[in-house]
Symmetry: C2
Subunit: 450 residues, 2 copies
């Protein structure tokens, strides 16, 4: 029987980070990653394969770093876990013994139920699978009209990329706005506008009745009866955790299908951990279970887990998930960290909100200047920042991490008022009107008045 | 006699922020800014007037926000302060009574002593003065060869901008590298390389012997005798605080010429504050007096001061300066926050340093990908981050603020290991190899081993 000290099932972002962090921390232990795929794709890069990257080859994660760190890689599938005897069984009937097991099996596209025509030719999902993606790319050459069902991040990013390649794209979302689960209305409106202004047809507040076609897809019929022609349809309707293996191995899975874990990412079985999309996430602020499915979250979990594999540390726990996303439509960028106003109100937080609109370069006449809007969600009694969202130019990808770090440190608006920043004409807002600080000032004023 | 509740002397960045913050906090008080200049320039934008902006008009700060906030503006010069009777005297012999006085008189170019030819025609400094800058622009039309003396931020940025406009630029710095007072050698080398690769002649490790010419400048002679032809010479040899007024009004000035202030930006005279370039700065880490002269620092001081004008707050103090700078040469960007390795060693800190080189987009094949290098300076006993520097693409302007916030919160490398971030293919490094976190990991490993 093959033996390893640490066995990691799954070779995407969280598996890689877990292996490297763990191996660096515990150098005398052997680490083995077992994964199904020969080539692992950069998960967040997948929508960009269809436009900016032009080939899936450019989106493959090299195995060099794993190999250089001394992590062994095996292509295969674990089909059963014997939690008591600490042995995994592969599809090829091979047994692998372990001291510690890390389940990082990720997620797969969720396919909506009860919609006719969903199995027609040229109806695709977006799995993290190079061979499948290459198949789409091949078929895409002959497609002109594309319908994208689902206005989450994958749907929105895929729309923009296919539009860049000259396809006629329609995106359909059942909620009132695109990205409506992650942004408050006023920001989501801007997402819709950005995508529309670039020539993508945006149909929101409307579900799908049927996918039409004989053997091959010919279009989509919306719930209001409207017909949209399409040579190709993408189902971008979310992802479900890959937890069948855990479930059938008697590892506790919550009622949403995620593997239950604690702050050290431990499952209910001794020496078995779970991280990434397949593991349960608890919101940093609301303490409710959430389903962010972000590679960045997965990597943070993997780092915390990797450090705690053999010896627990009280300073390196994962104390709840701060969802931090960013996305790009053309040169309009959107980002959010922590909770939105919608969620804060729904959860019953006593809050104030504050929004400041400024510019991302200074003076504003510099070429490439972009409006920057920062909205903060702040606890009224403590002044602690619960969430922030931004629209702006490319700099907001890191600016949202400034806000994320403030949330993680439970910083108050008062501490932001005297926050020290660096500014530069080409790189940031002016120091006299830095939107994050300005929004904090507005929030502080509202709290004072109340 | 004219009377105001709060009188602010100086209308640049810190004066503006002090007035607006103060007025917002204390709305029943009257605020008056007195300044010499009709038009105030965005200070950090000044080098960009010579290239990207093309006119000083585009670098003027509008008075609208001050006026809308209810701040009065007066053009004039205060020539004496009667600290006991709380009255200022202007050059026009007008008296202005005040309850609180804020000195925000800024800084002026420092002119090196004992260099022959420094008063020749076409030898300029870079003051924050629109009329003077417009004069340079007029003369610049006929100049082809430009010599810039001093390789600090102004010199470097001015070189790059004049080079963009097709001038033949030589920059001369007495230290071994450009920006050598703010960056450690390995980063400063990259600054030199970036500017050289764009066609600017970089002469470092060499001072000026003489500026040559009859009535008009014809060139510069270096200390090694080398002659550099020039139709125009800029002295970018630093700035000195404008504190003559404070000094002669018996307000305490330190031996470096800065007005002494406490954590609320109060001078030694009751109800008189000082902020910005003219006020003393104490380093957040070393506690030594430093001279950053940054608009962003000035604005942070102004906010803290504005909030504490009438009532002191224990949560809104200015607890020492974290110098945070960023700059751009073409599309190569450089930034630093906190202290460098040089300074840490000089001050006697027991440190480890860690450097990680990654990429600022992911996958790396995305158009516009730029190498990103993060270096951290970490206290060995506590793991607290003392400083960080970055070279990379445009996103580092906000990334340095992530590091700055970590320094301000006295965060340790351990807390960075489980830091949650947002990542996006076009906007950030990959979540699996985010250079700031990777550098923290290397530092943590070094500390553990030691």
């Amino acid at each position: 029987m093959k033996k390893t000290d640490v066995l990691i099932i799954g070779g995407s972002a969280s598996g890689i980070v877990a292996a490297i962090t763990g191996k660096n921390q515990y150098q005398d232990k052997s680490f083995l990653i077992i994964r199904k795929e020969k080539d692992v794709l950069v998960p967040c890069g997948i929508p960009y394969i269809f436009g900016s990257l032009e080939s899936s080859t450019f989106d493959v994660i090299s195995d060099d770093k794993l190999k250089n760190t001394g992590v062994e890689i095996m292509i295969g599938e674990v089909v059963a876990i014997d939690c008591t005897n600490k042995v995994c069984m592969t599809a090829e009937n091979e047994e692998i013994g372990f001291e510690k097991l890390v389940i990082a099996t990720g997620s797969s596209p969720k396919i909506p139920r009860g919609i006719k025509g969903i199995n027609l030719e040229n109806v695709f999902t977006i799995p993290k699978n190079k061979i499948y993606i290459d198949g789409i790319l091949e078929k895409l050459k002959d497609a002109q009209k594309v319908a994208i069902i689902g206005g989450g991040f994958i749907g929105v990013e895929l729309s923009d990329e296919l539009n860049k390649k000259g396809k006629a794209v329609t995106i359909i979302e059942i909620l009132p706005y695109l990205l409506n689960t992650v942004f408050d209305e006023e920001m989501a409106v801007k997402v819709d506008e950005s995508l529309s202004s670039r020539g993508v047809k945006v149909k929101t507040g409307m579900g799908i009745k049927e996918v039409t076609g004989e053997s091959k897809v010919s279009g989509v019929i919306l719930q209001n009866g409207e017909k949209i022609e399409a040579d190709m349809v993408f189902l971008c309707t979310g992802y479900k955790p890959n937890t069948e293996l855990a479930y059938k191995s008697d590892i506790e899975v919550n009622n949403m299908g995620f593997i239950k874990v604690d702050e050290y990412m431990r499952t209910d079985k001794k020496d078995i951990f779970a991280i990434g999309d397949c593991a349960e996430n608890r919101d940093f602020i609301t303490r409710k279970i959430i389903t962010p499915m972000l590679a960045s979250t997965a990597c943070a979990e993997a780092r915390a887990m990797g450090l705690n594999l053999y010896k627990l540390s009280t300073v390196k726990t994962f104390n709840g998930t701060i969802s931090i996303f960013s996305t790009v439509i053309g040169d309009n960028c959107f980002a959010v960290a922590g909770i939105t106003e919608n969620i804060a109100l729904k959860e019953g937080f006593d809050i104030v909100t504050a929004t400041f609109q400024g510019m991302d370069k200074h003076p504003g006449k510099l070429p490439g200047m972009h409006t920057q809007i920062v909205k903060l969600i702040v606890s009224k009694d403590s002044g602690v920042i619960l969430g922030g969202s931004i629209s702006g130019g490319f700099s907001i990808g890191e600016l949202i991490n400034v806000i994320g770090l403030a949330i993680q440190n439970r910083m108050t608006v008062n501490s932001i008022l005297t926050m020290q920043i660096g500014t530069h004409p080409f790189l940031t807002a002016p120091p006299t009107a830095y939107p994050f600080i300005q929004a904090a000032e507005i929030a502080a004023k509202k709290i004072k008045k109340s």
